[in-house]
């Protein structure tokens, strides 16, 4: 059996979980093993229904005190661990998000089972062979793992989420796993709502990013203007945050935010590995750069060669003109 852990926000499964589920379905077809899903919290029941189009035969819903409330990593890991104990799946999949990794790691630690992070493909067997990302996906590793159950996270944006050809009506199986008291030692005591004024970088459909070539904090004004016009968010490279020009929250990269917009407009960014890892999820890339040999150009769909401080104002003006017509 393959068990896919699905994360959800108020009953809506997140994209990364659907990516993991898609890989799970592929593997289920390959192995003939059944695919089941696990969601945590009573609100997850709503997610269970939405998962029908993605093919799990069964959706386990872990419910109970503490599990229905805000995210509690160790408790959620314990719930997953309990599901594994109960069903002894060969393979457990999780989304390659922070929460996915964290929940999976807690479960792996609780179960004393091996965990392999950021997989892009898996061949279950003795041993199980995985292809996984290293260096943010710049390098792939072929690895083998032994164990009755292998816990794998699915690398973010490595698999495209797709519904099953024939939607099923999964059986929803609520259960109440015993969760040890100590799993609640870490408590959420407050939440800070996202700034609704802007678009979150991780979820923006358009991102306008700036690098060293922007030249300084004041240089970002024109990027903000363009992002505003396109309903997008502003991001930047690690050089920019290290220099203190922009807050770290805007950093796109291996150690910053991984973005997945429809269009990423990268301005004055050379394209260091650390950055490219963060924008690999972008569907289209438009580069504005003075250097025709900047490494980022190898990844671009469109390129404008030139000084961004000349190009962007012209683009802003042209977009304005186009919207006013």
């Amino acid at each position: 059996m393959i068990l896919a852990y699905v994360d959800h926000r108020d009953g809506a499964p997140d994209d990364a979980s659907l990516e993991a589920l898609t890989l799970g379905r592929t593997l289920a077809e390959r192995t003939g093993w059944p695919l089941e899903a696990l969601v945590v919290g009573r609100a997850g029941r709503a997610a269970a229904e939405a998962l029908g189009v993605h093919g799990p035969a069964v959706v386990h819903v872990a419910e109970g005190d503490g599990l229905d409330g805000p995210y509690a990593p160790q408790a959620w890991g314990a719930a997953l661990a309990e599901a594994v104990r109960a069903a002894s799946p060969k393979l457990v999949l999780s989304p390659g998000t922070d929460r996915g990794h964290e929940t999976l790691a807690h479960a792996a630690a609780a179960l004393d089972l091996p965990m392999v992070a950021n997989c892009v493909d898996i061949s279950p067997g003795e041993p199980t062979v995985v292809l996984r990302q290293r260096w943010g996906g710049t390098v792939l590793e072929e690895a083998e793992a032994d164990g009755p159950t292998i816990l794998c996270s699915v690398a973010l944006h490595a698999v495209q989420a797709q519904p099953a050809p024939a939607p099923a009506d999964p059986e929803v199986r609520p259960f109440a796993p015993p969760v040890p008291e100590e799993a609640f030692r870490v408590r959420v005591i407050d939440r800070v709502e996202p700034d609704r004024g802007g678009v979150s970088l991780a979820e923006a459909k358009v991102v306008v990013g700036g690098g060293r070539g922007v030249g300084g904090p004041e240089g970002f004004r024109v990027l903000e203007e363009l992002a505003g016009l396109l309903g997008g968010a502003v991001g930047c490279s690690r050089v920019v945050t290290s220099a203190g020009w922009r807050p770290h929250a805007e950093q796109i990269g291996q150690t910053g935010t991984r973005i997945a917009p429809d269009l990423y407009i990268a301005c004055g960014i050379s394209g260091a590995t650390q950055h490219m890892v963060g924008c690999r999820g972008a569907k289209r890339l438009l580069v504005v750069n003075e250097d025709p040999e900047a490494p980022i150009i190898a990844h671009a769909d469109w390129v404008v060669l030139g000084d961004l401080h000349e190009v962007l104002p012209a683009v802003v003006a042209a977009v304005r003109a186009a919207t006013q017509d």
């Binding site: 250097d291 025709p292 040999e293 490494p295």
Partner: protein
């Protein structure tokens, strides 16, 4: 990017400060169809220019380097990228304080002014954040500054483009260089092929790799120079611009420190030599920072950190000042520390302009461009000539050995006679074993181990007593022995033999040999067979390229003998001018022939005792040569002398050399013969005869007329530089080479001091002498004159001071010593009539 043309007059490879300078100067000299390409982007393609510390100190003991540096500063100023901030070399030891005095002298010799010796308190006034307690003083050059070398490159490219002369092609990698019949023909690149007449390799640390594509060698190695940047420095926050305080060279610790905006940069030449293979430099893609900014190896820098902290505790002791940037920067080192400029001897049209630092870049760019244009660069670059090396000096072994040894001397106190300790015993004459038995002290020249003096001659010290002119001061006793002067006296009294196997020897043969030699040499070559001629060589502009002797061995056969250090350069000069019809050929027979000099009043007695040939004055007159038989060895005897004594140079095949030595040595015993080292041959005996030496007195900067080598008549046959030479003879020389004698060697502390050369010549009241062409007077050669009982110096003096008996002074270690002009022109001090030589 503009299309890459498929044809160009010259392709300049490398877009650092050097390549840009070459392209710029070619354009200014009227060249068109220049292509400048680099594998990286402009303005910083990733070479050493991009991480250079960009400061320029002006004073070097080496005249050529100083001249090129001054020219570069002039150019940087013209481009508006020079910021003057001053520079101080600080001393932590008494030895260094002495060295700083020597630097003051060099500054005066080369005309760098002002300079000043400072007390620690004066240093502190200029650099208020220095710990003056650990220094003894400083050498201050207010004219030191920093440049924006990348900006300079951009301005140079722009100017060349404005002149319509230049096509630039960044991100263009050279894949190959095609050579046809010894000439460069085509550069193959990732953007297409370019046919070209000339190719200039200005590729810094990559130069060997690029030259190899054409089958040429550029003997340098990339090496690491560690640099760190720390900041922010509170004191610098208030300063305006890049630099407001003098740069400090902590020379005793092989480091420098400079302000860079709000940061402080520390560079080091103190760490172990870290050499990198040119093939192991990362590509632009592979490099983390840039190909020449390799990851910093902290452990190598750690010891320097404490030295820097000791000198700058205010800045570096501040816990808020962090190490923000640290690299192992790559720079190019050469086996002798000098750049590599000129056409490569292997491939016509392939030029090297490499191993050049930012401080010299524009100057060498100009030299290379002028040299390409008409073979006549304004500043004589012979010490940087890429053709100066023998094959063994182009081996990886030699390059690695010498560059490793030289690296930590970057700021060292280097004695002018200092010997290398690595890679010795490379070229040994057949006499070597004998010499070793005699306790020869070997100095190296061009790889040859040459006895400088012989320990076996120590008993002569007693024989000659104070006539050996003993030295008291350690500096001039270093790499020296009074035995040299004793050997000198014994040779003049009796007879000596000298190993001269380091000579470079070329035979010119063929039906066109005479015409070719006539064209090359100032002196007539159409002399009877068996004549020996001493002659200078000039370039088209009448400037001195070489001096050497030529023996006419047959109607169509000449033998050229030149100094070992000059051999490869002189050979290229001849080969470059060989007739295209092949009517004359040159073969290098250096390794076939060894040479012994036999000189002294008893030389004839010795030689006569071992040969049946007629060696009498009538039978073998001065200035002639012919083969003679010496106990079964057939030797070519040449009756000339560089020491001013009766005698011969005896040339025989290398493998018979030992035999020749043994025969002569044995025959010499009854005559009191001594082995004599190069200390006598190259210095003491030469200077007593006021003979000029290439590189000391003779170089492009001075004319034959000024050197006193203009003969009464000029031959009718055309020769290189003839027209210019005739013009030189018509006007009064601006300076005249004179012989000076030291009136009193006693220093203020009562120690007798003896100059070693390159010291400034001053008026008695301390004013530098400068001729009408702005050239300073300095000592070109110096040494003992044991037979004349005085210390001898040669110097070019402005015409008005070139008066026999004129009272002048020489500055040495901060003191002035009185000297007198003993000779104006080339009349020898010793035996002015040359009676001994012609006896």
């Amino acid at each position: 990017m503009p299309e890459l043309p498929d044809e160009a007059r010259v392709v300049v490879i490398g877009g650092g400060i050097v390549g840009n300078s070459v392209a710029y100067h070619l354009a200014r000299l009227g060249w068109r169809d220049i292509v400048l390409l680099d594998k990286g982007p402009f303005p910083n393609p990733g070479g050493s220019t991009g991480h250079a510390s960009n400061f320029i100190f002006l004073v070097d003991h080496n005249k050529e380097m100083t001249k090129v540096t001054l020219d570069s500063v002039r150019q940087y100023k013209e481009l508006g990228v020079f910021t003057e901030c001053g520079g101080i070399e600080v001393a932590r030891t008494p030895e260094r304080m002495e060295e700083l005095k020597r630097r003051v002298a060099s500054a005066k010799s080369w005309g760098v002014e002002p300079v000043e010796l400072l007390t620690p308190a004066q240093v502190k006034d200029l650099v208020p954040f220095i710990n003056e307690e650990v220094i003894l003083g400083g050498f201050y050059t207010p004219g030191v500054g920093v440049v924006d070398s990348l900006r300079a490159g951009t301005l140079m490219r722009e100017e060349a483009e404005r002149l319509g002369a230049l096509t630039i092609s960044p991100n263009t990698e050279v894949l190959g260089i095609d050579v046809e019949r010894g000439r460069v023909r085509r550069v193959r690149t990732t953007r297409g092929d370019i046919r070209a007449e000339l190719v200039a390799v200005c590729c810094g640390v990559w130069s060997p790799r690029i030259a190899r594509m054409a089958g040429a060698s550029i003997p340098l190695t990339p090496a690491v120079h560690q640099m760190i940047d720390v900041g922010p420095v509170a004191r610098f926050e208030e300063t305006v611009g890049e630099i407001a305080f003098p740069i400090v060279r902590d020379v005793d610790k092989n480091m420098y420190e400079r302000q860079h905006g709000s940061e402080f940069e520390i560079g080091s030449y103190a760490h172990r030599p870290i050499l990198v293979e040119p093939d192991e430099i990362p590509s632009i893609e592979e490099a983390v920072l840039s190909p020449t900014e390799l990851p910093f190896t902290k452990e190598d820098f750690d010891p320097q950190m404490e030295d820097a902290l000791e000198l700058f505790p205010e800045i570096l002791g501040d816990e808020r000042v962090g190490v923000k940037y640290a690299i192992n920067g790559l720079i190019a080192l050469t086996p002798d520390g000098m750049p590599l400029v000129g056409e490569t001897p292997e491939v016509k049209g392939l030029w090297s302009v490499a191993a050049i630092w930012v401080k010299e870049g524009p100057g060498f760019g100009r030299i290379a461009a002028e040299w390409m244009t008409d073979g006549n660069p304004e500043i004589d670059p012979h010490q940087s000539d890429v053709s100066r090396f023998y094959d063994h000096q182009r081996t990886k072994h030699h390059i690695v050995a010498r560059c490793s040894e030289g690296f930590n001397k970057t700021y060292g106190i280097v004695h002018p006679m200092e010997q290398w300790s690595s890679n010795r015993d490379v070229r040994l004459s057949p006499f070597h074993a004998r010499e070793r038995e005699l306790g020869a002290v070997f100095f190296e020249a061009a790889g040859w181990e040459r006895p400088f003096w012989y320990a076996s001659n120590e008993p002569l010290l007693e024989e000659y007593g104070d006539r050996v002119m003993p030295r008291e001061a350690e500096w001039e006793s270093r790499w020296w022995s009074p035995i040299i002067n004793a050997e000198h006296l014994a040779m003049r009294d009796r007879v000596g033999i000298v190993d001269l196997s380091a000579f470079a020897i070329f035979d010119v043969t063929g039906p066109g040999a005479l015409a070719f030699m006539e064209r090359m040499c100032v002196q007539p070559m159409d002399v009877p067979v068996g004549r020996v001629v001493y002659t200078p060589l000039l370039n088209e502009a009448g400037r001195i390229k070489a001096d050497l002797t030529v023996m006419r061995l047959g109607e169509d056969r000449f033998r050229i003998v030149t100094g070992g250090l000059d051999g490869p350069r002189d050979r290229k000069w001849f080969v470059d001018h060989l007739p295209e019809d092949g009517s004359a050929q040159l073969s290098d027979v250096t390794s076939a022939w060894c040479t012994l000099g036999l000189w002294g009043p008893r030389a004839r007695d010795v030689l006569a005792s071992v040969t049946a040939d007629d060696v009498s004055n009538a039978g073998f007159p001065f200035g002639t040569c012919r083969p003679i038989e010496i106990d079964g060895v057939r030797a070519l005897a040449s009756r000339i002398s560089y020491v001013g004594e009766l005698g011969w140079e005896l040339y025989c095949p290398m493998e018979q050399g030992a035999r020749l030595w043994d025969v002569l040595f044995e025959a010499g015993q009854p005559h009191g013969m001594v082995p004599v080292g190069i200390g006598v041959y190259g210095t003491t005996a030469r200077l007593e005869k006021c003979y000029r030496a290439y590189g000391n007195e003779l170089e492009m900067e001075y004319t034959l007329v000024e050197a006193g080598l203009a003969r009464r008549a000029v031959k009718d046959a055309p020769f290189l530089g003839r027209d210019a030479y005739l013009r030189q003879r018509e006007s009064e020389p601006a300076a005249i080479l004179c012989t000076l004698t030291l009136d009193d060697p006693t220093s203020s502390s009562g120690v007798k001091r003896y100059m070693l050369g390159r010291e400034p010549v001053l008026t008695r009241d301390g004013r530098p002498l400068e001729d009408g062409l702005g050239r300073r007077s300095y000592v070109t050669s110096a040494g003992s004159g044991p037979s004349v009982g005085t210390h001898i110096m040669l110097a070019y003096l402005p015409r008005e001071h070139a008066q026999e008996g004129a009272q002048l002074a020489v500055e040495y270690f901060g003191e002035r010593y009185p000297v007198t002009v003993a000779v104006v022109g080339n009349r020898p001090l010793f035996d002015p009539e040359n009676a001994r030589m012609k006896a």
